[in-house]
Amino acid sequence: MKKRIVILLIAASICLTGCVEKKIVDEINIAIAAGFDSGDEKDKFKTTFLMQDFMKDMSVQNRTITTEGNLRREVLSDAHKQSPAPVVVGGMRLTLYEKSLAETGLGEYVDTYQRDASIGTRIYFATTEGKTEDALKADYGLQGNGSFISDMIEHNIRQGDVPKTNLAVFLHDYYQQGKDVYLPHLKKIDDQNIDIAGLMLFKDAKALFVLPSEKLFYFKLLVDQYSKGDFTVTLDNSEKASIHSIISKHKFKIEKKDPTHLTINIKVKGNIKEYTGHSLSPSRIKEISKELENKVEKECYELVEKFKEENIDPVGFGAFYKTKIRHFDFEKWKESYGDLTVDVNCDAAILETGAIY
């Protein structure tokens, strides 16, 4: 019996070796980023794969392959024909969508990403103002365009005002009722520069409009934690203070008597980084935080009103209501979304005003 098992194991290990596809790291072309553009013909789209060629001095040279097709897998096999080594998508860190393509709906494009087990769920999605091919073909820095853009998004999520988005979050929001997806929106400035121009808001996975970057901080306050960002408060005596937020929390509260009324409590903690006035007395600090509260309340309220006006729900009010109300009816919710009244309360705390008084 034992012998039989041993023989079986040896046979299996010899016979099954062919079953696993070898992908030796220097004999494949690892696509680090992909971009989807609308094609010249209808129903077709262009795909650009960005590859990294590692140079001897550790710098990275960008190489792109652009193919056209109407099925995503077909596009990949076309890409093989333009590459010296098989193109693999497992190392993908970033996927860009052209704005005009995103406006037609992203659902089917995301589908391949959730079916391919080799693709991680932490890759970033973004939309671009112009053609993604142009965005990927530029030359942004030594680390390569793919790393440049994904690093840019990553640190702005971690330490900046871009709310967290990646494949996992995107899919979660996409399949969840009562929440609309959003993606960072990139804009290529010139051949060396690209920036995050704002946040693309979607309605049913179709791109709708771009939230400008000034509003990003307030949007992140509503949807995410740890909003970090700098903003300026002007006091009555025209003195200005720059405040750096380090931590934020938000809480939704439904009024029991009137479920159409929602209270949003936001807590912001931050430091004063710059102050044009003479000295910061405790009363002045209070004034500043009061001013800050007013500003957050106003901006956030405006954002919610804007969403209601556009009939989109990127904050996920619907998803929140679903967790609070038994037998929640989404059809009814959609109809009554416009009637929702929102109250924003902000509680700001200044933690630090500087080392020297």
Binding site: V20, K23, M58
Partner: protein, 496 residues
């Protein structure tokens, strides 16, 4: 049937065979008082002639000697034996006794002990060297070794039972345990297995390891060998059995566990936090040493997704010029290190130093420059080799060196899945392994939280107040934990 018995069948004269050896000597003397003729038979290489000349001979020549029993009265040597059995002759003569035959007492034989002990002086432990702590190591003599142990455990409960193993070598093997502590089942198992051994010669205690092991096909040594008397004494008081083999500077300890192979005895001389840290480092080093090259091969051959994107550039650039696939590259380097180690072990010490230079500098750098291996892998392989050297027990470090090759093979065949597969087989094997019937993987499996005090970490001495539960000792308590350490203020003491 021994050679001696065969010979006796053909010829009744026991001297014929002995006389063929040139160092066998046989002389006769005549007692001055009784005119009785007596013969001396001995091997000049085995006896101390000074004892014979200064103690035995003057008395035998000048005092009254009528029968063999008179020897006991007149010779000032403690070990004098009289026997009627001619089969004793062989055993005694070859153990350094002088055989005395008396013309008037032909059927009996007298033996006087005059052993010449050639003992190497005590030296420092070389394999289990420790910076602090005792510097004594065992030598090749069983008498000396037992002396070293008994000095550390001067109690009547320390029992030493001797056996003779090997039909040709007649090796003396002593089994030591402390009565009242050690589980008698363990002692009986050792004794039973020792008496069952049928072998012609024992060259070293390693023979006993192989012959006593529960599973001699296993890569893992199931008896711990040590050259430190302090370790043997400590482990005996823990309730284990020690086996001392004549002619071997390594004393065996049984039953043992896997964890014990990764604890250096110096751990007990250091602060417990420092010692625990070193043990953790050692365990990490072993895991690292086994897995680093297989993971490299698996990641580079199958799982490029696992490689962080910042590392990818380094790996790809270092591998670009290399014509070999990762597995051949890794095997090439691993075999190079094995060759270096083997060459270093076989060469005389002085020549051996050049090996380090040849291996480390020439082969290492040159193979990278020649484009045969990538410098990233070179670092991994070198670190892995370094990790395998941290194991305090030499036999275990050999095992670890070998273990990585199946891992490497399966990493190439099935990637990380292969590594997991190999790991499962290794775990299953370790779980089944026993040492003297006691689980080898204790206290991890079966899990004994109480025994964890001296495993991956080394807890403070006063916390080690009980003996390992897996040993099922007769007295599980070592000392009173509460009374073990009392730090009283000197003023309090005087106030009493």
């Amino acid at each position: 049937m021994s050679i001696w018995d065969k010979f006796k069948k053909n010829n009744n004269d026991w001297q014929t065979l002995l006389k063929q050896s040139t160092d066998y000597q046989s002389t006769y003397y005549i007692n001055t008082k009784t005119n009785n003729r007596f013969d001396f038979h001995f091997f000049s290489t085995l006896i101390d002639e000074q004892i014979v000349q200064e103690s035995a001979l003057p008395a035998l020549l000048n005092e009254e000697l009528h029968t063999l029993d008179d020897i006991k009265k007149i010779v000032p040597i403690a070990d004098v034996q009289i026997s009627k059995d001619p089969s004793d002759i062989e055993q005694k003569i070859f153990n350094g006794y002088v055989l005395i035959t008396l013309d008037s007492d032909k059927n009996r034989y007298g033996f006087i002990a005059a052993q010449k002990e050639i003992v190497r002086g005590l030296s420092q432990p070389e394999i289990e060297f420790s910076v602090i702590g005792p510097k004594e190591a065992f030598v090749e003599s069983i008498g000396q070794n037992l002396n070293l142990i008994r000095k550390r455990l001067p109690i009547k409960e320390l029992i030493s039972e001797e056996f003779t193993v090997g039909s040709l070598s007649k090796t003396r093997v002593a089994v030591l345990h402390i009565e009242g502590i050690t589980n008698s089942e363990n002692v009986e198992t050792v004794k039973q297995r020792l008496t069952n051994i049928e072998i012609d010669s024992i060259s070293d205690s390693s023979y006993i390891v192989e012959l006593l092991s529960d599973n001699s096909n296993s890569l893992f040594p199931q008896l711990l060998d040590t050259e430190r008397p302090d370790r043997v004494a400590a482990i005996l008081s823990e309730g284990k059995v020690a086996i001392v083999v004549d002619g071997s500077p390594h004393v065996l300890i049984a039953p043992t566990t896997l964890i014990e192979f990764f604890s250096a005895f110096e751990d007990y001389f250091l602060n417990w936090i420092v010692a625990s840290f070193f043990r953790l480092v050692r365990v990490f080093a072993v895991i690292f040493s086994i897995l680093v090259t297989p993971i490299y091969v698996a990641a580079l051959t199958y799982h490029f997704e696992l490689i962080p994107s910042d590392l990818l550039g380094t790996l790809v650039t270092s591998r670009r010029a290399i014509p070999l696939p990762p597995i051949l590259e890794a095997l090439f380097l691993e075999l190079t290190i094995e060759l270096l180690r083997e060459a270093g072990a076989r060469l005389p010490t002085k020549v051996g130093q050049t090996i380090g230079i040849v291996g480390g500098i020439v082969i290492g750098t040159a193979s990278v420059e020649a484009g045969l291996t990538s410098n990233v892998l070179l670092i991994f392989v070198a670190l892995g080799a370094l990790g395998s050297f941290t194991t305090p027990v030499y036999k275990m470090s050999n095992t670890i060196r070998l273990l990585r090759f199946p891992f490497l093979l399966f990493a190439q065949l099935w990637g990380v899945l292969g590594i997991v597969f190999c790991f499962c087989i290794l775990t299953a094997h370790l779980l089944r392994l026993t040492s003297l019937g006691r689980p080898f993987l204790a206290p991890i499996y079966p899990l004994r939280i109480k025994d964890m005090k001296d495993s991956i970490i080394r807890s403070p001495l006063q916390d080690m107040s009980s003996r390992p539960t897996v040993l099922r000792t007769q007295n599980p308590k070592r000392f009173n934990k509460k009374k073990a350490k009392k730090v009283n203020d000197i003023d309090e003491e005087s106030a009493k």
